[in-house]
């Protein structure tokens, strides 16, 4: 008896939905083993990491706050993923978006008006898109891999942030801390929009998921993205221009990362050295775990946000180090990537080979 892989004619829809769920479960089991191995109370650590944030009503707001940027960025990335364009530098576009919005905030400190917040949002999205345009032009005109170029730009954006908050935009009343001045009331959306208790960022994420759902499933643009990703040659014969898709998906994912940056800035109310939190990287996991589908991405964003919040809980309750949440996110990504095999292949137990082998021996 041996295991045999058999290529499916079409990716299995059932497995496409089932494997992310299985991956999360597998990681919980693995987590118990790892924590036990490190000398912590395994089951309790995993409980705190994955379940406490869900069961404790007071943690819901934290989860929603963390999920918002992850979902917003990941929605954009899900478009580029489907076109097989790897925008690894969303973190940079997220940071640049926040810097642009902080720039608007800096120059509107002494004025009020309903137009300030829309201007911040616009500036952030444009900055994110412009930053993502660099890898786009490098890829389409010079054939430079967007993977490396977008990533290099993350490090450039980190230095730009550091310069702005220690130099020109440093808070004059900030006791010499490297940070910008606090946003004014006219620059922040109320934390309790419409009396719902839901952070404004999550409402934006929800709305964006809806829009992306329509784009992906109901428009020619959505179809052409998938066509380019899955069968580039055929798509080109069909009249789709791959350069345009590269531009469009990179700019949209950049704009979404910038948008997330603006809402995170409003959430934190100022830029400081702690601002870059790796959401841009975690969002890549979110988009893959969510199978690049808007609804999947929304759920996956909540799951990853739970591990962030749960990581803090586990740190205080079971005293596991702060880094565990990151480690679990990586393991989750490994699991989801490995389980792709089940989507594309069917695993068959084969007895034939054995019989043939026995016969040849005899």
């Amino acid at each position: 008896m041996r295991l045999r892989l058999e290529k499916r004619l079409e990716p299995s829809r059932k497995m496409l939905i089932l494997t992310p769920v299985l991956s999360v479960v597998a990681i919980m089991v693995l987590g118990i083993i790892i924590f036990d191995g490190l000398g912590y109370d395994g089951p309790q650590a995993v409980w705190e990491l994955f379940f406490t944030p869900v069961l404790d009503v007071y943690k819901w707001r934290d989860v929603a706050t963390k999920a918002a940027p992850l979902i917003i960025i990941a929605l954009g990335l899900s478009l580029s993923n489907q076109a097989k364009i790897w925008n690894i530098g969303a973190e940079g576009q997220y940071i640049v978006g926040a810097i642009a919005a902080a720039g608007v905030a800096y120059s509107t400190q002494s004025v009020t008006g309903f137009w300030i917040i829309p201007l911040m949002v616009l500036a952030g999205m444009l900055a994110g898109a412009a930053y993502a345009a660099i890898p786009a032009v490098l890829r389409t005109r010079y054939g430079v891999s967007e993977v490396l170029s977008s990533l290099m730009l993350v490090y450039v954006s980190l230095q730009l942030l550091s310069y702005m908050i220690t130099g020109p935009w440093k808070d004059p009343n900030g006791h010499n801390f490297p940070q910008t001045a606090q946003l004014t009331a006219a620059q922040i959306l109320p934390h309790d929009l419409l009396g719902s208790g839901i952070p404004p960022g999550l409402l934006v994420a929800l709305l964006a998921a809806l829009i992306f759902y329509i784009i992906v499933s109901c428009t020619v643009f959505g179809f052409s993205i998938r066509a380019i990703g899955e069968a580039p040659h055929a798509a080109r014969y069909g009249g789709f221009r791959s350069d345009r898709i590269i531009w469009a998906t990179l700019m949209i994912s950049g704009a979404m990362a910038g948008l997330a940056g603006v809402f995170e800035l409003m959430q934190l109310s100022r830029l400081n050295l702690g601002y870059p939190s790796g959401y841009g990287f975690t969002a890549i996991i979110v988009s893959l775990l969510g199978r690049s589908h808007p609804i999947g991405v929304f759920i996956a964003g909540l799951v990853l946000a739970i591990t962030y919040v749960g990581g803090q809980v586990a740190q205080t309750v079971v005293h596991v180090p702060n880094a565990t949440a990151g480690l679990f996110q990586a393991l989750l990504l490994f699991a989801i990537l490995a389980s792709d095999l089940l989507v594309r292949y069917r695993i068959r137990l084969s007895f034939k080979g054995d019989i043939a082998a026995k016969r040849s021996v005899a």
């Binding site: 690894i88 010079y142 310069y163 594309r344 292949y345």
Partner: protein, 307 residues
């Protein structure tokens, strides 16, 4: 500007270039076999903490380097299983390896924050490196000599040996190599493990010599520079050696901008410079060489033999 200053600067450049040279040499072999492993940064971090922890616990830096090398190779093998045996996407898996390396090294390293060790010294007797000039020849850590040896040996291996030819064949046309009987998957496993081992040693260079302590994400993106360097070098060992010292100069500028008053521009500009230049150089090179340069033809494509 005195001659001593230039010589001192040269010593700095050689020191900070070494880890990216080591990691890039490993990645060169990986990419020549037709696989792109974006997990260099993660493998370096795993090597850095493994090397530091073992050196601190046992007092033996050589054992530390060995364990760093092995841990880098083990981390790389996770990537190998994923992309070679399970056919997972190489870009996403490499990224996962980097996130994994950051998480794992921070987890292990949380016990070692704030501890300093003595940096690893030159393998040559002190009497050989009395003044600055002779320090350039004899005054470096063992990593420096090993890195130069490794890149030269790699160039020789790729271009002058039969095994190197087979490796290149696997990277250029995996199906042909498979059909004439070469074990494509096994060769790629070995290449990936080699790349991991080299990245692990590069990490140990960080935590044992460059800044002999442990700090979270202490490699600070140098792994990505190493990846760009392989493209920059057009997948050739000789250009890799030259290119890495070029980037070493750029990275040294940041150190000098911070330390001295010569900074006309803010220090952040100098810190961003290697990354900016890397992006610009990638664009210039590919426009000169035509589309894609001389990348191995199978780079990044999964190989799943029929049957």
């Amino acid at each position: 500007m005195t001659i001593t200053f230039i010589l001192d600067a040269l010593i700095t450049v050689i020191g900070i270039t070494t880890p990216i040279l080591l990691a890039a040499t490993g990645e060169l072999i990986v990419e020549k076999s037709g696989v792109i492993n974006l997990g260099v940064e993660g493998m370096m971090l795993v090597g850095a903490i493994a090397g530091f922890a073992v050196t601190f616990e046992t007092g033996n830096p050589w054992l530390g380097i060995l364990i760093a090398m092995v841990s880098g190779a083990v981390a790389a093998s996770i990537f190998g299983v994923m992309v070679l045996s399970l056919g997972a996407n190489q870009v996403a898996t490499g990224l996962a390896l980097t996130i994994f390396g950051i998480g794992l090294s921070s987890l292990i390293g949380s016990n070692y924050v704030g501890i300093a060790i003595d940096p690893l010294d030159s393998p040559f007797p002190d009497t050989l490196a009395l003044d600055t000039f002779w320090r350039i020849v004899f005054g470096h850590s063992p990593f420096v000599y090993f890195a130069v040896f490794l890149v030269l040996a790699t160039g020789f291996f790729l271009n002058k040996t039969r095994a190197g030819l087979v490796l290149r064949a696997v990277g250029e046309n995996d199906f042909s190599a498979h059909s004439i009987g070469y074990p494509v998957i096994r060769i790629r496993y070995l290449a990936i493990a080699f790349g991991g081992a080299a990245a692990g040693i590069a990490g140990a260079d960080f935590s044992l010599v460059i800044s002999p302590l442990w700090a979270e994400q202490m490699t600070a993106g140098r792994g990505w520079i190493a990846l760009a360097l392989v493209v920059f070098a057009g997948w050739r060992a000789g250009r890799l050696l030259a290119g890495s010292y070029f980037f070493g100069v750029l990275m040294a500028l940041e150190l000098y901008a911070k330390a001295s008053g010569f900074a006309i521009l803010p220090s952040q500009f100098w810190a961003a410079m290697p990354y900016l230049i890397a992006v610009i150089v990638l664009a210039l090179l590919s426009s000169r060489d035509g589309k894609g340069g001389k990348a191995p033809a199978c780079l990044g494509k999964p190989f799943i033999p029929n049957g």
